[in-house]
C-alpha cells in the first residue's frame, strides 16, 4: 500500500485518506505484543498473558514469510535465538500450537489439573476470574461455527491479513481486562486457515462484517469497562497532557480529547519507577514536546520491527482498514455506538503507547547523554593510588594492631592443642579471586600448623580449589622445608559442592578418589593418611572460605561426624557476621574463627613471623581510609540533598 511511500511527514495518504499517521501508529500498538500486555492493570496478568499468547501466536510465526528486503536483520544480528526460521508451514504449526495451548495449566496444585484440563486457555490456571472465563469459553465455542462457514467458502485466504493485522477487535479488548474478543478471533482465525495463504489484503474488506459483528457482540459485554478505565486513570492526569497531546488532537476528532486522559495517566507508577527523582521539574515540563517529536522520529524503525513480524510485511496501512471499513458498517446491528467506542479504544491505545514511548525516551534520552561516570573515575583513581602508594613509595606506615582479638587466643590454643601426628584437614573453599585476601589471612594459621609439624591434607569443593591450595601451602611449606606427600598433600577436588560435603563427612575415603599433584593413585594410601578412615581421624578441620553458605554447610553437615574435633573457620571479612552465631552459640559448631587482615597481622605478630599479611597492611590501611572518606562524603551529601529537597517540597 502507499503508506510506505509517504512517511510520517505526510498527514494524508492518497489511498488511505487523511488518517494515515494515527492509523500508522494505530497499527503499531495492536501489532506489538507489548500493547496487548500493557493495558490490563498489572493485577490482570494471566488474562493478558493469555491474550498476548493468542493474539500473537499467528504473527509470531510469520517472519519466515517476509520479503528478503525486510529487516529482520537486527534480530538475527543480535542473536541466533531470535532469527526467524521454519518454512511456510507456519500455519500448520500454528494450529498445532493452538491445540497445544489446550493443555492443563502448568504449576498448579495437582488435583486442579483435572478440572482445568478442558480450559481453552491456561487463564483458569491462575485461579482467577473463573466467572468471565466461562463466558469467554462459551463465546469462543459459539463463535467458531458461525465464522467457519463464510470463511471457508467465500474467503479462502483472508485469514492471513486479518490475523496479521489484529484490527479493532483484538485491539479493543486490549484496553479492557477481559479477553473475549481476542480469545474468539484467533480461535476461528487459526481454526480454519488454509495452508497456503499468500498475504492478500483485498479480500479483507468483504471479510470484515463477519468478524466485526463478532467483535461487536463481544464488546457489548465489555462496554461497562470503558468508563471504568477512564475514571480510574483520569485522576492521576499530569497537567502537561494538553500540550503533550496537542499535535494529535489536531489529527483526531475532538472526542479524542476526553480520551487523552487514560493513556496519559496510565502508567503513573511506571513513571515513578522509570526516572525516580532524576527529572527536575523544568525538564518534566519540557518533556512532552521534545519527546513527542522523538517518538515521531523513531516511528519508522519501530514500524519496521513490527512489519518484520507480519506476513503483510510492508502493509503498514492495513490497520487503516479498521476505521475506513468500519464506518460504513456502523449502522449494522447496534454497531454505531460500539464502533465509536472501539475507535476510542484504539485511539486511547495509541495515546497509551505514545505516552509510554515518551516515558521511555524521557528515561533513556536525558540520562544517556547526561553524565560520564565522573564519580566512578574519581573513586577508581583515588582507590588505586591509595592502595598502590605504600607499595611503590613505601608510603605511610600504619601502626600495627597492639591488642589481639579475643578469638585469636582461642584459635592459637586450639592449634597448640591439636594432637601431634594426626593430619589436619584444610578445606580451600574460595574463589581464585579471593586468594589475595584469604592467603594473607590464612597464611599465619598454615604457618602455625606447619610449625607444629602437623601434616596437612587439603581439600576443595570447587574445581579451582586444588591449585589455590597448592599456591598457599607450597609457599608456606617452602619456608619450613616441608616435603610434599609427607608434610602435606592435596586430596583434590570434591565434586558436588555442598551436597558432597556430607558425603565426604560420612565417608571421606569414598568421596575423594585421586589426589592433586600426587604421584597418582588414591591419596589415602599415602603414609600420612593411612590412619584416616573417618572425618574424626583428622586432628582438626580448617575451612577457608568466602561464602557464608559453604561455611554454614561445613558447620552443620559435618557436625555429627566430627566427634568433637575442632572446626576452625578462616573467613573473608564479609562472611564473618554470618558465621559468628555458630561460633558464639552455647553449643558452638565452630570452635575457632579467624577473619580479617587485622587479626591475621596480630597472628603474625604473635608468631613473630612477619608474612604476607604485614606486607599488605599499609596499602590496606590507606585504601580503607580512602573508602571511608568516600562513604562519609556520600553520607553527608545524601543527607544534605535530602534535607534540602525536603525543604523545597
Amino acid at each position: 500500500m502507499c503508506s510506505t511511500l509517504n512517511l510520517e511527514e505526510a498527514e494524508t495518504c492518497k489511498l488511505c485518506g487523511s488518517r494515515l499517521k494515527p492509523t500508522g501508529r494505530l497499527g503499531t500498538p495492536s501489532e506489538e505484543p507489548g500493547s496487548q500486555m500493557r493495558l490490563p492493570s498489572t493485577g490482570e496478568l494471566p488474562p493478558w498473558l493469555a491474550r498476548l499468547r493468542k493474539d500473537v501466536t499467528g504473527r509470531g510465526n510469520l517472519p519466515p514469510d517476509l520479503p528478503p528486503g525486510e529487516p529482520s536483520a537486527p534480530d538475527s544480528e543480535e542473536l541466533p535465538l531470535s532469527t526467524p526460521e521454519g518454512g511456510p508451514d507456519w500455519l500448520g504449526r500454528m494450529r498445532q500450537a493452538e491445540s497445544e495451548d489446550e493443555g492443563p495449566p502448568e504449576g498448579e496444585v495437582p488435583d486442579w489439573i483435572a478440572k482445568a484440563a478442558p480450559a481453552p486457555s491456561p487463564a483458569p490456571a491462575e485461579g482467577e476470574v473463573p466467572a468471565w472465563l466461562a463466558r469467554i469459553r462459551a463465546k469462543a465455542e459459539a463463535e467458531a461455527p458461525i465464522q467457519e462457514t463464510p470463511e471457508q467458502e467465500a474467503w479462502p485466504s483472508p485469514a492471513a491479513p486479518e490475523e496479521a493485522t489484529p484490527p479493532p477487535a483484538p485491539s479493543s479488548p486490549d484496553l479492557i481486562p477481559e479477553p473475549p474478543a481476542t480469545l474468539g478471533i484467533p480461535d476461528w482465525l487459526l481454526g480454519n486457515r488454509p495452508e497456503d495463504s499468500p498475504a492478500a489484503p483485498e479480500p479483507e474488506a468483504p471479510s470484515q462484517p463477519s468478524w466485526l459483528t463478532v467483535s461487536d457482540s463481544d464488546t457489548t459485554g465489555k462496554l461497562p469497562h470503558v468508563p471504568a478505565l477512564i475514571l480510574d486513570e483520569a485522576g492521576a492526569l499530569p497537567p502537561v497532557r494538553d500540550e503533550e497531546l496537542g499535535p494529535i488532537s489536531v489529527e483526531v476528532p475532538d472526542w479524542m480529547t476526553e480520551l487523552q486522559a487514560p493513556p496519559t495517566a496510565a502508567p503513573p507508577e511506571a513513571r515513578s519507577n522509570l526516572a525516580p527523582a532524576t527529572l527536575p521539574a523544568w525538564l518534566e515540563a519540557m518533556r512532552p514536546v521534545e519527546t513527542f517529536r522523538s517518538v515521531v522520529e523513531i516511528e519508522p524503525e519501530e514500524d519496521q520491527t513490527v512489519e518484520a513480524a507480519g506476513p503483510l510485511a510492508g502493509l503498514r496501512g492495513v490497520l487503516l482498514a479498521e476505521p475506513v471499513m468500519a464506518m460504513p458498517r456502523m449502522p449494522t446491528v447496534g454497531g454505531g455506538r460500539l464502533e465509536v467506542t472501539e475507535r476510542q479504544f484504539a485511539q486511547a491505545e495509541l495515546l497509551h503507547r505514545l505516552v509510554e514511548e515518551e516515558q521511555r525516551e524521557a528515561k533513556a534520552r536525558p540520562q544517556a547523554r547526561a553524565r560520564p561516570p565522573l564519580l566512578r573515575w574519581l573513586v577508581s583513581i583515588v582507590l588505586f593510588v591509595a592502595a598502590a602508594v605504600p607499595t611503590f613509595a613505601g608510603g605511610p606506615a600504619f601502626p600495627l594492631p597492639l591488642l589481639q582479638p579475643r578469638e585469636l587466643d582461642v584459635l592459637a590454643s586450639l592449634v597448640d592443642g591439636a594432637p601431634a601426628g594426626q593430619p589436619v584437614l584444610v578445606v580451600f573453599d574460595y574463589e581464585a579471586g579471593y586468594a589475595g585476601e584469604l592467603e594473607a589471612v590464612a597464611g599465619p594459621l598454615i604457618d602455625h600448623l606447619m610449625n607444629r609439624g602437623l601434616p596437612l591434607a587439603t581439600l576443595s569443593t570447587r574445581p579451582t580449589g586444588p591449585p589455590l591450595a597448592e599456591r598457599l601451602v607450597a609457599q608456606v611449606a617452602a619456608r619450613h622445608g616441608a616435603v610434599r606427600q609427607e608434610a602435606f598433600l592435596h586430596l583434590g577436588y570434591l565434586s558436588g559442592g555442598p551436597t558432597a560435603v556430607q558425603l565426604f563427612a560420612a565417608a571421606p575415603t569414598q568421596a575423594v578418589f585421586r589426589g592433586y599433584l600426587g604421584p597418582g593413585g588414591s591419596p589415602w594410601l599415602e603414609p600420612m593418611l593411612q590412619r584416616v578412615h573417618a572425618l574424626s581421624d583428622f586432628g582438626m578441620v580448617v575451612v577457608i572460605t568466602t561464602g557464608t553458605e559453604i561455611a554454614r554447610v561445613w558447620a552443620e553437615q559435618t557436625q555429627p561426624w566430627l566427634a568433637g574435633r575442632p572446626l576452625v573457620m578462616v573467613l573473608s571479612a564479609g562472611a564473618e557476621p554470618m558465621v559468628r552465631p555458630y561460633y558464639e552459640a552455647l553449643q558452638p559448631k565452630v570452635q575457632g574463627i579467624l577473619s580479617g587482615l587485622p587479626a591475621a597481622v596480630a597472628y603474625e605478630l604473635r608468631l613473630a613471623a612477619p608474612g604476607i599479611a604485614q606486607t599488605r597492611w599499609n596499602g590496606f590501611g590507606l585504601g580503607l581510609t580512602g573508602v571511608e572518606g568516600f562513604l562519609i562524603i556520600g553520607l553527608l551529601y545524601g543527607i544534605v540533598a535530602w534535607v534540602l529537597r525536603g525543604r523545597g517540597a
Partner: protein
C-alpha cells in the same frame, strides 16, 4: 527412629498439608499480597521492555542445582517460565543465563515448557538458556556482553549469588536497565542493597513467582511462610522465657 525424627517428620508433613490446604483455599480466600517495592514495578517494566523490543534477562545465579543453594534458582526458574510466557512472541524473548551447567539446563527446560505452553515451540532456541561461565566470576565477566548485545533493559537476578552478584547487578545499572536482584546469600543481599536498583531482601527472593501472578500454591505459600514465621517468633519468645527460668531445651 528417635522421637525427634518423628517430630521433624510430623512438622514436615504438617507443612506440606498446610500448603495444600491453603492452596485449595486460595480460590475462596485469595491471598492479599503486601507491597514489595521491588516487585511493584516489575510487571510494567517487563511489558515496557517487550514493547520497546528490548530484552528481559533473567539470571538463575551461580549456585548449583543439587545443593542447598538451589532454592532461589528454583524460584527463579518459575519466574522465568512466567516471564517467558509473556515474551515468547516478542521480537526479543526473555533470555536466561546461569553460572552452572545444571542450572542452564533447568533454564532451558523452563523456557521450552513456556514456549510449548504458549504454542510457540518452534521459536524456542536452546541458546535462550545459557551457561555464561562455569565459575561465579567467569559468569559475571560474561555478563556485560550479553547485556549490551541483547539490548537488555530488564535485568533480573533471581538465584544464588556470591560477591560476583554485586558486579552482575552493577553491570545492569551501567546499562541503565531495570535491575532487580535477590539472592539467598545474605552477604550478597547486603551488596545488592547498594548496587541494585531493586533488591529482594531476605526471603523475598523466593516469592517472585507469587508476585508474578503465580499459581495458587505459590500465593498460598506466602501465607504458610507468614504463619510459620509467626510460630517461630512465638517459639523464640517462649523458649527465651523457658531458658530464663532455667528449663533446659
Amino acid at each position: 527412629m528417635t522421637v525427634q525424627d518423628w517430630l521433624t517428620m510430623a512438622v514436615l508433613l504438617a507443612l506440606a498439608a498446610a500448603l495444600v490446604v491453603l492452596a485449595l483455599a486460595e480460590r475462596r480466600w485469595p491471598t492479599k499480597l503486601r507491597r514489595v517495592a521491588a516487585f511493584a514495578a516489575l510487571d510494567s517494566a517487563i511489558e515496557r521492555a517487550v514493547e520497546a523490543g528490548e530484552r528481559v534477562h533473567l539470571s538463575l545465579g551461580t549456585g548449583s542445582l543439587i545443593g542447598s543453594d538451589c532454592a532461589p534458582a528454583l524460584a527463579g526458574a518459575m519466574a522465568l517460565a512466567k516471564i517467558a510466557e509473556a515474551t515468547t512472541m516478542s521480537d526479543r524473548p526473555v533470555v536466561a543465563s546461569a553460572g552452572d551447567g545444571a542450572l542452564a539446563v533447568l533454564a532451558q527446560d523452563a523456557l521450552r515448557g513456556a514456549y510449548a505452553r504458549t504454542g510457540a515451540k518452534e521459536h524456542y532456541r536452546a541458546t535462550t538458556g545459557r551457561m555464561l561461565g562455569p565459575t561465579p566470576f567467569s559468569y559475571a565477566a560474561a555478563l556485560p556482553v550479553i547485556l549490551s548485545s541483547e539490548k537488555v533493559s530488564v535485568h533480573l537476578l533471581i538465584g544464588s549469588f556470591g560477591a560476583e552478584g554485586a558486579l552482575a547487578a552493577e553491570m545492569g545499572e551501567r546499562q541503565r536497565a531495570y535491575v532487580l536482584a535477590g539472592s539467598d546469600d545474605i552477604q550478597t543481599q547486603a551488596l545488592f542493597f547498594t548496587t541494585a536498583e531493586h533488591v529482594l531482601v531476605g526471603e523475598e527472593v523466593f516469592v517472585s513467582g507469587a508476585y508474578l501472578q503465580g499459581t495458587a500454591m505459590q500465593r498460598a505459600s506466602l501465607r504458610l511462610q507468614d504463619l510459620v514465621r509467626l510460630a517461630l517468633v512465638a517459639a523464640i519468645l517462649a523458649g527465651t522465657i523457658l531458658a530464663t527460668l532455667g528449663v533446659a531445651l
